[in-house]
């Protein structure tokens, strides 16, 4: 599974970079996105759910690991 680390990036870079990754993915493929702010987590979650993909949010010591399935 591909992993992108978006720690410390300001709006809207986390959600924009996630969107760019999702564009090239096929159904069933997974993507791991690491973010370190609540705002980035919420924005990406909204994006993923609006595109009818699945997301699993896991809290980590420094932020969140978002597992996305297209």
């Amino acid at each position: 599974m591909k992993e992108i680390n978006l720690y410390g990036m300001s709006c809207p870079e986390p959600v924009l970079r996630t969107q760019n990754e999702l564009k090239g993915m096929k159904p069933g493929e997974k993507l791991m996105v690491l973010v370190d702010s609540e705002t980035a987590k919420e924005n990406i979650t909204r994006l993923v759910l609006s595109r009818k993909h699945k997301i699993n949010v896991k809290k980590e010591s420094e932020g969140f690991a978002l597992e996305i399935e297209v």
Partner: protein
């Protein structure tokens, strides 16, 4: 999911901000200036004696309250996170020019909405400019624009600006050491405690909902996400309803309070703000809230706002109801050129010239 991260929570918060802003005008604030981030930093700069414009000096409790409200909320919600180091000096510079643009229009994006909500059509011209600025920013974002990552900072660093604001608040409430206008907008203000409480509530709501005026338009265009823009529209609706109820709604371009009718400069003033705010990752309100979160880069951006406001009033850059002076016109054009240079250098066009591009592409 908490109420405030839902669409209903965003709309509720927006309505409340719009209603409270007009309430502050009824309680004594300048017309259509219940809450204005740019105007209030300018008044704070004046209260500190950083500029000599006698009509715009007052230590506004609202702006201190917004930052402190966001600070307390982020501590309670365990979201306080001192971070910084994302092109800090560039953010300072962008903060300065965003303030220049706002003071040429006579208001930040929030006051633009409040002016629209009172029927001031000059604010509609400014909205078009603001949107054009954001679209320009989106062009750079789509071409890889980034100011680079922020990294964790010491807790003490994150506390600096919130504690300075707390000190200013205590001194403003308990002593008479700050300059206060005896005429003009600076002399018009709601009672201290009412201003402070509204500021704290706005800070709380903006922290919980992540409300951002620039972000609303940006997300609608960029990722077809209408969450933030629903807050924008709710503020507008709240303000319109209150202005209609209290007879403060007056549709037109001329004789609007604390406004001028130079369409070109209203457009270009908020063009600068739209582009600058997109580069910063948020409007002046959002920068204030982020500084309350412990974001050191946003704290430096706010120092940029205050320095920009002081320069704008010391050198005749700020507009007046009579219009925009030559200095303001020069500065707006220079600001646009400067933002374009930053945009080019920090996107793929100038990837060879900067480190933030390389830094952003490091994985893991």
């Amino acid at each position: 999911m908490s109420f405030f991260s839902t669409r209903a929570g965003m709309i509720f918060s927006g309505l409340l901000v719009g209603v409270m802003a007009v309430f502050l005008v009824l309680m004594g604030n300048p017309a259509n200036m219940g809450v204005c981030i740019a105007c209030f930093y300018r008044d704070v700069a004046g209260a500190l004696g950083l500029h000599q414009a006698a009509t715009v000096q007052y230590m506004r409790p609202e702006i201190l309250g917004i930052l402190l409200g966001a600070f307390i909320t982020s501590l309670v919600a365990r979201e306080f996170k001192p971070q910084g180091g994302s092109s800090t000096m560039l953010r300072f510079l962008i903060g300065v020019v965003v303030m220049f643009g706002a003071l040429v229009f006579l208001g930040c994006p929030l006051r633009m909405i409040l002016r629209l909500g009172a029927g001031d059509l000059n604010a509609f011209v400014a909205l078009i400019g603001f949107m054009a600025g954001i679209l320009t920013g989106i062009f750079f974002l789509k071409n890889g624009f980034t100011l680079g990552r922020a990294y964790n900072q010491s807790t003490a660093a994150g506390y600096v600006l919130p504690l300075i604001f707390l000190a200013l608040l205590i001194l403003a409430g308990g002593t008479g050491i700050f300059l206060v206008s005896t005429e003009g907008p600076g002399s018009l203000h709601a009672p201290f405690l009412i201003s402070l409480i509204v500021g704290l509530v706005v800070g709380f709501l903006a922290q919980r909902t992540r409300l951002c005026i620039a972000g609303g338009i940006r997300d609608a265009f960029l990722i077809r996400d209408f969450h933030l823009v629903s807050g924008f529209l709710a503020i507008l609706v709240g303000a319109i309803i209150m202005n209609l109820i209290f007879g403060k709604f007056k549709l037109g371009f001329v004789e609007q309070p604390i406004a001028h009718t130079s369409h070109l400069w209203n457009f270009l003033g908020l063009y600068v703000v739209g582009l600058g705010a997109t580069f910063l990752g948020g409007c002046p309100l959002r920068q204030t809230v982020l500084a309350g979160h412990g974001n050191v880069d946003s704290a430096v951006t706010i120092i940029g706002f205050i320095v920009g406001a002081a320069l704008a009033h010391n050198f005749g850059i700020a507009a007046s109801p009579k219009g925009v002076g030559t200095a303001g016109q020069y500065i707006v054009v220079i600001s646009i050129v400067l933002l374009f240079i930053i945009g080019f250098i920090h996107s793929k066009f100038g990837a060879a010239l900067n480190n933030s591009q390389k830094q952003a592409s490091i994985k893991g």
